[in-house]
């Protein structure tokens, strides 16, 4: 993994791309948010936020655990550490209906094999649905997260094949084709940001992605080369804030000490 280097008040900190994605994603979370968490980077971002600026963040999982406070790193979204000590556990139907459909999830995390210009996500199939080149896992709860959460954050590596102008299959609706509005279809919220290993992108009023910040050392040309359409940039593109020493220590020593998702902190 490539790595950057940032200056905290009085020390320089090494960090990996994954760690930057984790710290940047954590910043999107507010203290009073309820967040629907996945394993991996989203889980680490949420736990980091909880141990820093958002101690009251409530984490819920597709498996129906509500306000989990895991003693150890969960290895799946249904890990028993998410159940013991949770506020509540509900059947799957209730997690999706009472919490997501009911508007009780502020933020959801999504990833995907393809993310397009308007934030639509494909995690179903590459190529033709009936005869796919690559069969992906499918929606799981992603369609519901994208449809019912008040805002969604998308996290993905920045690669040209992963950012086509238009996805092969809409698993999770973003801002659709620009003709129909989410609201007219009865969908709530919509994607708020895409955090990659090169940049942070946001959506304009028409629901089209643009680059808001570039990670330290990344050029506009690199981002354009890794994006499947002519990507626009904010008038005032700035540098993505980088992890500080405390965040890196938390990630490496407490949240993922074995480096399961962060590659050993390297």
């Amino acid at each position: 993994m490539s790595r950057g280097d940032a200056t905290d008040s009085d020390e320089s900190v090494d960090y990996t791309d994954t760690e930057l994605m984790i710290t940047r994603a954590a910043q999107e979370l507010r203290n009073d948010d309820t967040v629907l968490v996945g394993v991996g980077v989203p889980n680490l971002a949420c736990n980091l936020a909880k141990r820093t600026h958002a101690p009251d963040l409530q984490m819920i999982y597709e498996s129906g655990t509500v306000d989990s406070n895991p003693d150890a790193l969960p290895l799946s979204i249904g890990d028993p550490v998410l159940a013991t000590g949770a506020r509540s556990i509900v059947p799957m139907y209730e997690g999706f209906s009472r919490y997501l459909q009911g508007g009780r999830v502020d933020v959801g995390f999504l990833g995907g094999a393809q993310i397009d210009k308007r934030g639509n996500i494909n995690s179903t199939a590459i190529g033709d649905y009936g005869d796919p080149t690559v069969r992906l896992p499918g929606s799981g709860g992603a369609c519901e997260i994208s449809s019912n959460a008040h805002r969604t954050l998308i996290i993905a590596p920045h690669q040209k094949r992963r950012f086509p102008e238009s996805v092969d299959f809409v698993t999770s609706p973003g801002y659709l084709d620009g003709e129909e509005s989410r609201e007219d279809l009865g969908l709530r919220g919509g994607p708020e940001a895409v955090i990659t290993d090169k940049a942070v992108m946001k959506f304009d009023d028409d629901g089209e992605l643009y680059v808001e910040t570039l990670h330290p050392g990344v050029t506009r040309e690199e981002v354009q080369a890794a994006t499947g359409w002519e990507i626009r940039f904010a008038d005032d593109v700035t540098a993505t804030p980088t992890p500080d020493a405390d965040e890196i220590r938390l990630i490496r020593e407490e949240l993922d000490p074995d480096g399961v998702y962060t590659g050993g902190g390297d």
Binding site: S63, G78, P91, Y93, Q101, G130, P137, S139, G141, C143
Partner: protein
């Protein structure tokens, strides 16, 4: 009134070739032992249904048991893709399988409706996604309270057989479940025939001391099987944890159809019962999965006679 039997009898009694079979359990309480027994009995034309196919369907598919799979997320949870599932869908190995695909809420809504004989279940998602175009079971109705709105609806799902697990049950099949209950209760209520496998059989009085915990009533259960560790490598809350190494190993094992069959030879065809499988796992592995005790605050139902 006991329904207690062994898994061999339960599967041969409950499952007929051509049946739609739901294996319940979302990450927790996955009925692996039942899946292995289905493989050993050599079924070839089952319509398998699970929200998350998980390793158990990968094994059933590789063994040639499935003619179709209904699902909403076909991955190896926390690890990656389900290689046998992908080989079947992408390359027809070992046989072509039809797929019937939903989002999680879409699939559990079908089960919810099936458990309650609802004519259909409405949900505020699927609209805007690509799924309705490819799945005739996803339809829309006009909302009679808001004529501008079209609402996606799905029909009831009523499997011929559901196989579910719980922590404990009485011989009549009343079952207590705690931790993540996922799709288990609705799976049991939706099916014609239910096989229930548990970590422990307990007496009827123990079950009836906490009726709010009885997720599955014996009245919907046909076969009760006591099989400790029957969810391994998935887990049972309070009894053992998920064997994550087995999930990681599967990613290697399932690399090719041949290596998958070798694994089945050793771990499925090579043992006759779950007990033999557990003996083969060995004591060290079991001990590594043990949690420490953490008992719940008691409740007092009170006796009012």
């Amino acid at each position: 009134m006991t329904k207690v039997t062994d898994m061999t009898n339960a599967i041969s009694g409950a499952v007929d070739e051509g049946d739609t079979v739901y294996l319940g359990g979302f990450t927790h309480l996955i009925p692996f032992a039942a899946g292995h027994e289905i493989i050993r009995q050599g079924y070839e034309d089952l319509h398998l249904v699970r929200a998350t196919p998980d390793l158990v369907f990968d094994q059933l598919i590789a063994a040639g048991c499935a003619s179709s799979v209904t699902f909403s997320w076909a991955g190896n949870p926390g690890v990656g893709s389900l290689r046998a599932f992908r080989r079947a869908v992408e390359d027809g190995v070992p046989n072509e399988i039809a797929i019937d695909e939903y989002s999680h809420f879409g699939l559990v809504s079908r089960l919810f409706a099936g458990a309650r004989d609802m004519p259909f279940a409405p949900l505020r998602s699927l609209v805007g996604s690509g799924l309705p175009e490819h799945n005739d079971h996803i339809r829309t109705v006009e909302n009679p309270f808001d004529p501008d709105e079209s609402v996606c609806v799905v029909p009831p799902l009523k499997p011929d057989v559901s196989i579910v697990r719980a922590q404990r049950a009485s011989p009549e099949g009343d079952a207590h479940i705690w931790g993540i209950s996922g799709d288990v209760t609705d799976a049991a209520f939706a099916a014609d025939t239910v096989v229930l496998a548990v970590e422990e059989l307990v007496d009827t009085e123990a079950l009836r001391s906490d009726p709010n915990r009885t997720e599955i009533p014996g009245t919907v259960v046909d076969y009760v099987v006591e099989e400790p560790y029957g969810s391994h490598p998935s887990y049972t809350q309070g009894y053992y944890g998920r064997d994550n190494d087995a999930y990681l190993d599967w990613n290697e094992v399932s690399e090719s159809h041949e290596s998958t069959l070798e694994w089945l030879d050793e771990w499925v065809y090579g043992v006759d019962t779950r007990r033999e499988y557990v003996e083969k796992l060995g004591v060290d592995r079991l001990l590594d999965l043990e949690p420490t005790h953490d008992y719940a605050e008691p409740i007092d139902m009170g006796r009012y006679a």
